[in-house]
């Protein structure tokens, strides 16, 4: 194991896959000469040349379509969105074309395409540059959606996404790029898409979270342990297809669940997870499933308001206490 930052882990995954498979190439704004707006593609131009590290003009719809066409006839493109906010410019290509080609062609054509870049709450970037974008994509049959929380997951999941024959939306986080963690050096280390991970075992309540919210949930788990609340942390890692089995399995053990998500709560991931827990494990529940979600508001700029937009540790802890019946009630 090496200790790498999340950014380095992604960079390594790209390098390894590009070395392994000449069909893999990277395309997007500033990925080459500038070495990536967030430096995820640093050094790739030097190692692989301009044919495989393709700088594009600002034309998200255009270069996403280029990725789709190239994927249909045998290449394995990795399209970088400078940030996922800009993917909305390409949402027609992603939803109407990438996700539909395999189905509309009755299985004749495949679109082995990864679209990756940062998304989610960032630091004081305001309403257009600081949003949780996964909900725009996980609704769509035909897309796989990945949100890697740790450097190890970043590497293993990105490599699996590149080897996957389906379009994969891979959303990283600006706030996690400098997080360090252990990463296997084995170039065959892959984390299969569609598998959740139990990050911490516990007996009293299942806390489901990913990305920045998982780190917050970890702190809550540590802080509540002395109170005698044992939290089990489950990270779905892939939002579609969702590993409901692992989440349900955990809930059957703990009998309580809290789902945390950074994005606006209305019709969010928390709603989906809460509903399948309720549908499939109702009899196992000792308390209603709670959601702790981002406020149903755009991301404000002001620091104090920004803090109110995403779930705080206090809110998560309060929800855990409520479902455990230990909030004085």
């Amino acid at each position: 194991m090496a200790v790498l930052t999340y950014r380095e882990a992604l960079n390594l995954a790209l390098r390894e896959e590009m070395r392994r498979d000449p069909r893999v190439f990277v395309i997007g704004e500033e990925v080459g000469l500038y070495e990536g707006a967030y430096k995820v593609t640093q050094g790739l131009l030097k190692e692989f040349g301009a044919q495989r590290v393709v700088d594009t003009p600002i034309a998200e719809s255009g270069f996403t379509g280029v990725g789709i066409g190239a994927a249909m006839v045998g290449l394995r493109p990795v399209v970088e969105m400078m940030t996922f906010n800009f993917a909305l410019v390409a949402v027609d290509q992603i939803v109407n074309t990438a996700a539909k080609i395999h189905y509309m062609s009755g299985g004749q054509y495949r679109v082995p395409l990864v679209i990756r870049g940062p998304g989610g709450p960032a630091a004081q970037l305001g309403a257009q540059h600081s949003q949780s974008m996964e909900s725009y994509f996980y609704h769509v049959p035909g897309l796989k959606v990945v949100r890697p929380t740790t450097p190890m997951d970043a590497k293993g999941l990105l490599k699996a996404a590149i080897r996957d024959d389906n379009p994969v939306i891979f959303i990283e986080s600006e706030t996690l790029y400098n997080v360090k963690g252990e990463v296997p050096e084995d170039p065959e280390f892959l984390i299969p898409l569609g598998r959740a991970i139990v990050r911490r075992e516990g007996t009293d309540v299942t806390l489901v979270a990913y990305m920045g919210m998982m780190y917050r949930a970890m702190e809550v788990a540590e802080e509540l342990a002395p109170e005698g609340i044992s939290i089990e942390l489950v990270d779905p890692r892939t939002l579609r297809p969702m590993d409901a089995e692992t989440i349900i399995g955990s809930v059957r053990k703990t009998h309580r669940a809290v789902v945390v998500e950074a994005g606006a709560g209305f019709a969010g991931m928390g709603s989906e997870i809460a509903s399948f827990i309720t549908e499939r494990a109702f009899d196992d529940l000792d308390a209603p499933v709670e959601r702790v979600t981002g406020a149903n508001a755009p991301m404000p700029y002001a620091r104090n308001l920004e803090r109110l937009k995403t779930p705080s540790k206090e809110k998560i802890a309060a929800a855990v206490r409520r479902v455990c019946g230990t909030n004085g009630g």
Binding site: L75, D92, Y103
Partner: protein, 338 residues
Amino acid sequence: MAKPVPRESLVPGVDAGLARRLLGEMLLIRRFEEKAAEAYTLGKIGGFLHLYIGEEAVAVGATSVLRPDDFAISAYREHGHCLAKGADPRRMMAELYGRRDGLSKGKGGSMHLFDRSVNFLGGHAIVGSHLPVAAGVGFAIKYQGGDQVVVCYFGDGAVPQGEFHESMNLVALWKLPVVYLCENNRYAMGTSTERALAQTEIWKFGQTYGIPSERVDGMDVLAVREAVGRAVARARAASTPALIEADTYRFRGHSMRDPAGAVYRTREEVEREKQRDPIVLFRARVLAAGLLAEDDVRAIEKDVSDRIDEAVAFADASPEPPAEWLFTDIYTDISTEA
């Protein structure tokens, strides 16, 4: 007595075999579309059905200069392009019927024909969306060091869309072997080019991007063949993109839901354009040139109508897709609800 026209000048460079092929393919498309319209009226085909009648010379002229390993991609008025590329009319008709033996197992429909066996990449119904995809196919050809080309058909309605301009810029910037072939039939549904475009001479947009561009009579199968032939030769040899504007006309309405197409254009205009019928014109030319005799033409017509009857019978006999297929082909590796 009229002076006999020198035969060569009527159909330069065309022999009887090519004449038979071009006429046969245009007729095949025409009959396919007429039968599809009939089937639609009988309720056997649902949804939107956009007929290619009147525009056959574009698909047939263009495809006649392609190799089987070249690619074609189109919008939703694509029956003609798909047939010309070599797809089996029986499986196409079955697709229109929504049956299990359709090209896409009945899951695509009229607007989403795909046939990988002949490198036909669809069938795309979001106006403008397949232009960048075509650029990507060109990118892959160049990346892999191949010498194929991709022909991308689209309507005048895609020109005001951003993706047209993004695609022109990208293929010019990266020198990709893509021939953009605009079928300017003068209308996008009910909107004439005059009401949609600040520049109605569509080929001129290519000049802005430094792409070799030209306008061609889209009712003349040989003129289309020549223009596309030039563009394909450049694309194959030097990976040069092209923009060709084919001046054409749809004889029917926008779709079967606009059968007459009469609100936004005059009857006189439609009748006048029908005088340019590409099949009538080409038949007259090859007969006058003595390349084919009346009997040959009748034999071609008979063969075409037999093939289309067979296609209809095949579609009629094909069962509906089984219920499990709702969930197959969403992902390559998951065949249940995910």
